[in-house]
């Protein structure tokens, strides 16, 4: 009872949109598809919906192979980044439209439409046309239509991108709850890692047309299997450092020499060290600390926090710190990272487990 892909791929001319993907989404839960722009989220959704046919592989839903089945005959709903409503229908008619197509009688559909409108706070606007609504209300109408339809699979393709911040926060909170009661499998695509974390549920990270990892959101965030997943699930971007394991410890560019207690026993090889911006501190106090230094390029201040952009050797780093920091560009900074917050990847970009 879930949505599954077997060896799925999609190629348009020479361009690979989706590379061999095996994935089995859990039924009736909120799934987040997380990845940067052009990572294949929309392509994958179109395959899920059946709007496109895969080049190879198959799509299974509820134990049935639905690969060749027309979109019209699958029971699914989709909400887009643009606000898609029928321009000359009232809000009520818009929400009711999929039920009308299913040929439900007026008495059957009215309570469902009213309930959906109530959940999405649209009751006062039932007689308005979409162009008389605000952006948020228009998107609520589209969401209500998807909710009311009673689809088994609901695909939400970055539905909150075009809304302003306040509305986005509001809907972000409501969305998982709204669909939780319907029993539908929900797939929500987004580019923002913190959105995935706030939505909870399960997350599949995507990069370059591949699903890199799928699992409970917090697990994927804390224990990314590989560098691609860690990169996709980090905003600001993951800070990276190239290291070489020697007999004494780890050596890096600019004569850097580090001791990494959790990784003392890894074989001699080349590694990539990653640490998240909020783990890069400008004050050190713990024991297992790594000392680095960097040169400030830009400081972004967002009221209560600062994002300090730094340059170290060839790498651009970001330190995410609390408080307002006024740092002039070019200033040298001492930086600290706790070794236990570091992620180590081998030369295949796979995570090296830390020894506890």
């Amino acid at each position: 009872m879930s949505l599954e892909f077997h060896e799925l791929s999609k190629q348009v001319y020479d361009e690979v949109h989706i590379a061999h993907t095996d994935l089995s989404l859990n039924p009736g839960v909120f799934n987040v598809l997380l990845g940067p722009t052009l990572s294949g989220k929309t392509s994958l959704m179109r395959l899920m919906a059946g709007l496109d046919q895969p080049s190879t592989g198959s799509v299974w839903f509820k134990g049935q192979n639905v690969t060749g089945i027309a979109v019209q005959r699958r029971n699914l709903a989709m909400v887009y980044q643009q606000f898609i409503n029928f321009p000359n229908m009232s809000v009520f008619e818009n929400i009711a439209s999929p039920l009308r197509i299913q040929k439900l009688s007026e008495s059957q559909l009215r309570p469902r439409v009213e309930k959906g409108a109530e959940l999405l706070k649209l009751t006062p606007y039932m007689h308005r046309k979409p162009n008389e609504l605000s952006g948020g209300q228009q998107q609520r109408t589209a969401l209500a239509r998807a909710l009311v339809k009673g689809a088994d699979l609901v695909l939400l393709d970055e539905p909150l991108v075009n809304l302003d911040y306040k509305l986005r926060e509001e809907l972000r909170e409501e969305l998982p709850r709204l669909f939780a009661d319907t029993g539908a499998t929900v797939v929500y695509a987004t580019t923002e890692p913190h959105e995935a974390l706030l939505m909870g549920g399960y997350t599949a990270t995507m990069r370059e047309g591949r699903v890199t990892q799928y699992g409970p959101t917090h697990e994927v965030f804390r224990k990314p299997h590989d560098l691609a997943t860690a990169k996709a699930f980090s905003d600001p971007p993951l800070n990276i450092l190239n290291l070489k394991r020697t007999a004494q410890g780890f050596e890096g560019e600019q004569g850097l020499s580090l001791k990494l207690p959790p990784f003392q026993n890894v074989p001699v090889d080349e590694y990539i060290l990653g640490f998240r911006p909020h783990h890069l501190q400008i004050q050190g106090n713990a024991k297992d600390i790594l000392e680095l230094s960097g040169e400030v390029t830009v400081t972004e201040i967002t009221g209560s926090e600062s994002f300090i952009h730094l340059k170290w050797a060839e790498h651009d780093w970001v330190a995410h710190t609390q408080g307002v920091m006024h740092l002039p560009p070019g200033e040298k900074l001492e930086l600290y990272v706790s070794a236990s917050n570091c992620l180590l990847f081998d030369d295949q970009e796979q995570l090296v487990p830390a020894q506890v």
């Binding site: 919906a49 709007l51 979109v71 019209q72 005959r73 699914l76 709903a77 989709m78 887009y80 643009q82 898609i84 029928f86 321009p87 000359n88 229908m89 439209s97 999929p98 197509i101 299913q102 046309k129 162009n131 339809k149």
Partner: protein
């Protein structure tokens, strides 16, 4: 203003306008809907569609005049060949049919191009949504394409309405507003009065009325079409 001649010309003008709008608008929308949306076909179709628009009015008239000649013209000969008594210089019905056909040939492309532009501006997500909901192609047309094309369609209608009142060259070249007065539209009549008979007073009055008729029609049409957008 009681002039029967003027009333007749006005009546003919209105009938002509009504006819060409009834033919050109649905036909234009229909062609726009069937035009390809991508590939080399788009360019080919657009060029083909733009061709008639590039031809000067008097050339269109002259072309159709020759094309429709009952004895040597391709169209005239063919129609007579299949049994019609086609002669646009003698029979008012055929004269009308020829003028209307000429205008449709010349100007439907304008409607097509405007509608096509309107259709192209509809995001693909609309079509996907309707596909997912299982809407029929009629429902897609009625609830997505038509409302989304409304603005360009209004412009197309107004342009064709005003242009159709300007019709002069084609019927003039074809057979000078004949046979008799049967294709003497307002503009032709106006020129006959003003320049043929040199009755400048009545001609000036006519042209003022002419102007107000066009203005009134445009206003009524525009208000009707924009009605539910403003309230």
């Amino acid at each position: 203003m009681r002039s029967e001649r003027f009333h007749d010309a006005l009546g003919r003008q209105l009938l002509f306008t009504l006819l060409i709008l009834l033919i050109e608008v649905p036909l234009g929308v229909g062609i726009a809907l069937t035009m390809p949306r991508q590939g080399i076909g788009v360019t080919i179709c657009l060029v083909l569609m733009a061709l008639p628009l590039l031809i000067p009015w008097n050339v269109v008239g002259a072309m159709w005049n020759i094309f429709a000649l009952p004895d040597i013209g391709l169209l005239g000969k063919m129609l007579n060949g299949v049994g019609f008594d086609y002669n646009f210089t003698q029979n008012p019905f055929w004269a009308w049919a020829t003028v209307v056909a000429m205008d449709v040939w010349h100007w439907t492309s304008l409607v097509v191009l405007l509608c096509y532009a309107g259709l192209r501006s509809i995001p693909d997500a609309y079509y996907q949504t309707s596909k997912i909901d299982g809407a029929t192609s009629w429902q897609v047309f009625r609830y997505i394409q038509l409302p989304k094309m409304k603005r360009v369609l209004t412009i197309a209608l107004l342009l064709r309405l005003m242009d159709s009142f300007m019709i002069y060259t084609e019927p003039f070249v074809l057979n000078g507003g004949g046979p008799g007065n049967s294709t003497t539209f307002l503009s032709i009549d106006l020129v006959k009065v003003a320049l043929g008979q040199f009755d400048l007073g009545p001609a000036a009055a006519m042209s003022i009325i002419y102007f107000f008729v066009v203005l009134l029609l445009c206003w009524v049409l525009y208000t009707l079409m924009m009605r539910d957008e403003t309230n």
